[in-house]
């Protein structure tokens, strides 16, 4: 709580008017929009991709499964600036595979996808492992097809896990800086995300402006986490006997 209080205090040090001025400056608004928009898209995409990955890891058997399983955690272990460099080498102007997306919004999405995927995989995987196999067999014995069994029985039971993974991926994406600072190019109004904008404000001697945008990011993240928490609470109501 103390660092948050300090941040709020710092953001107000130049007065309320300066606070609104910093927050509503066109460049700050563009950066905030890009950050929240990209984080949302990435969290949604990874909720789907991460769930599929977790499904394959839990339900399928194939050679090299344990290797893949370990590689999932790579973005956790890798310093994100290294991830940024790697992505630049792969998808930059000197791309060995001929894809140059450096300094575009696509690059931002790619980098965020990479660093947030394990959050979903690692929250869905244990839920999927825990799921009662007999519940699926019961559904099939009652005439449900594979698809119906997934939709009506499996999905409702893993949804809380997916939502947790979504919230974590979103929060991580909103705050991400290391992997973006190189590959995004930080073009104001185009590819400058809030974290980089905040860094820029501090470097140009405007700590109160930096704190003001930081507070807005904080509020948005809190709101998303609370919202997801509420949905989670609703989807697990049957467990609270």
């Amino acid at each position: 709580m103390l660092p948050i209080a300090a941040l709020v205090w710092a953001s107000r040090s130049d007065g309320t008017q300066a606070f609104w001025g910093s927050v509503t400056s066109p460049q700050a608004v563009a950066a905030l929009k890009l950050t929240v928009g990209a984080a949302f898209i990435v969290a949604v995409l990874n909720a789907v991709l991460g769930t599929i990955t977790a499904w394959v890891l839990v339900r399928d058997d194939f050679r090299g499964k344990s290797v893949i399983n370990s590689i999932i955690d790579l973005p956790f272990a890798l310093p994100t600036i290294v991830a940024g460099l790697t992505l630049l080498a792969l998808y930059g102007p000197k791309s060995p595979i001929g894809i140059d997306i450096a300094f575009t919004r696509t690059a931002i999405l790619a980098a965020l996808m990479f660093v947030t995927l394990p959050f979903v995989v690692r929250t869905v995987q244990p839920v999927l492992t825990e799921i009662d196999k007999e519940m699926e067999e019961a559904a099939k014995s009652l005439g449900a097809s594979e698809l119906t069994t997934f939709r009506r029985v499996i999905f409702p039971n893993i949804l809380p896990g997916i939502l947790s993974g979504f919230a974590l991926a979103f929060a991580k994406a909103v705050g991400e800086i290391g992997s973006l600072v190189i590959i995004s190019g930080n073009l104001p109004y185009k590819t400058e995300v809030s974290s980089v904008f905040i860094l820029g404000q501090i470097e140009s001697g405007n700590p109160a402006g930096a704190a003001a945008v930081a507070v807005v990011l904080l509020v948005i993240s809190f709101a998303i986490l609370l919202g997801v928490g509420a949905i989670r609470h609703f989807t697990t109501r049957h467990d609270r006997a």
């Binding site: 067999e137 019961a138 009652l142 005439g143 449900a144 006997a241």
Partner: protein, 319 residues
């Protein structure tokens, strides 16, 4: 609907779960698959349901080959030991599941669910979630759910295994009464011989993936086909290579010369009969069951040496 299992074999890796099993179940009957754990009884039930595929052999349900038919299309109701409740659905939605999947009209579903809730005495619990029910209630819900689509066959895998003794006995009676009402061909798996004897009209005794004997409770007790059945169904005494049921032994306070002698360890009285535990000179244990009157007539006490006379005995060909 009759069920015929023909020469079914099934292996899991190196473990042979079933070896050439054949069983006939008459339509409308109540049959128990009885055996110790690892005997293959659950595997056989799951193969009949279509939850496992046999390596060899076939399953014939109502005169038609069902071996290759998917579980979804077999029209069987299956009840699991640990209920397999859909925990994110209310009791009503659990029971309605099979009907909703079949896209029955809403009014029909409501009517059928009401009827089943009444049958399993859960009328007041329709809007609860499974987590809010006791074990016995959950299993009754699971039964109602299995019965909802009017299955041709009802299969129960150790249905009372996870419940405490009192609820077990209650549900056992209830299943028997239900079967009298509904008359669906029913097969249940159990490792408890008393449960099998109490509920089933036909018992299939299994051991090591094979059928040891098929018969009604009296046949199994009076005419066991093997040493295994002799020991597993009811209590048994071994005298050398001969086998005797506890009630087929009599005791005499002054043994005749040459008769088998044993020392009384303990005498326990139940309602009508008494059980006497003895040890013979070579250290083997015997259990004798006599009526209370006979016990008083003999005036037996612990520590006494008595003669043991077998009134009936059997031998089994070595295997």
């Amino acid at each position: 609907m009759s069920i015929h299992v023909r020469n079914v074999s099934k292996s899991f890796g190196d473990f042979s779960a079933l070896e050439g099993v054949s069983v006939d179940v008459a339509g409308g009957s109540l049959t128990a698959l009885l055996g110790p754990s690892g005997s293959g009884k659950s595997t056989l039930l799951r193969i009949i349901a279509g939850l496992e595929t046999p390596d060899l052999g076939e399953i014939i349900i109502a005169g038609e080959d069902a071996t290759g038919v998917r579980v979804q299309d077999r029209n069987v109701g299956f009840v699991f030991q640990h209920y397999a409740a859909f925990k994110h659905m209310t009791v009503r939605d659990n029971i309605a599941f099979g009907l909703k999947v079949r896209k029955r009209p809403k009014a029909e579903i409501r009517e059928k669910v009401d009827e089943l809730l009444k049958l399993v005495q859960l009328e007041a619990f329709g809007h609860r979630y499974p987590a809010q029910l006791s074990g016995g209630q959950r299993q009754r819900m699971a039964l109602a759910r299995a019965l909802a689509p009017n299955p041709e066959v009802l299969l129960l895998d150790e249905p009372f295994g996870a419940l405490d003794a009192r609820v077990r006995a209650e549900l056992r009676d209830w299943l028997r009464r239900l079967h009298e009402e509904v008359h669906v061909t029913t097969i249940f798996v159990t490792h408890d011989q008393a449960e099998a004897m109490d509920v089933a009209s036909q018992i299939v005794v299994m051991n090591h993936g094979r059928v040891e004997q098929i018969g009604d409770p009296t046949q199994l007790y009076d005419e066991p086909a093997s040493e295994f059945v002799m020991q597993f169904v009811g209590e048994a005494n071994r005298l050398g290579d001969r086998w005797v049921r506890p009630h087929e032994l009599d005791l005499s306070p002054d043994p005749a010369p040459g008769a088998l002698e044993a020392q009384i360890e303990r005498v326990t009285r139940y309602g009508f009969d008494a059980r006497i535990e003895l040890v013979t000179a070579d250290g083997s244990e015997l259990l004798v069951q006599v009526t209370r009157d006979r016990l008083e007539e003999l005036e037996l006490v612990a520590g006494q040496i008595v003669g043991v006379v077998a009134l009936n005995e059997r031998t089994f060909a070595g295997r």
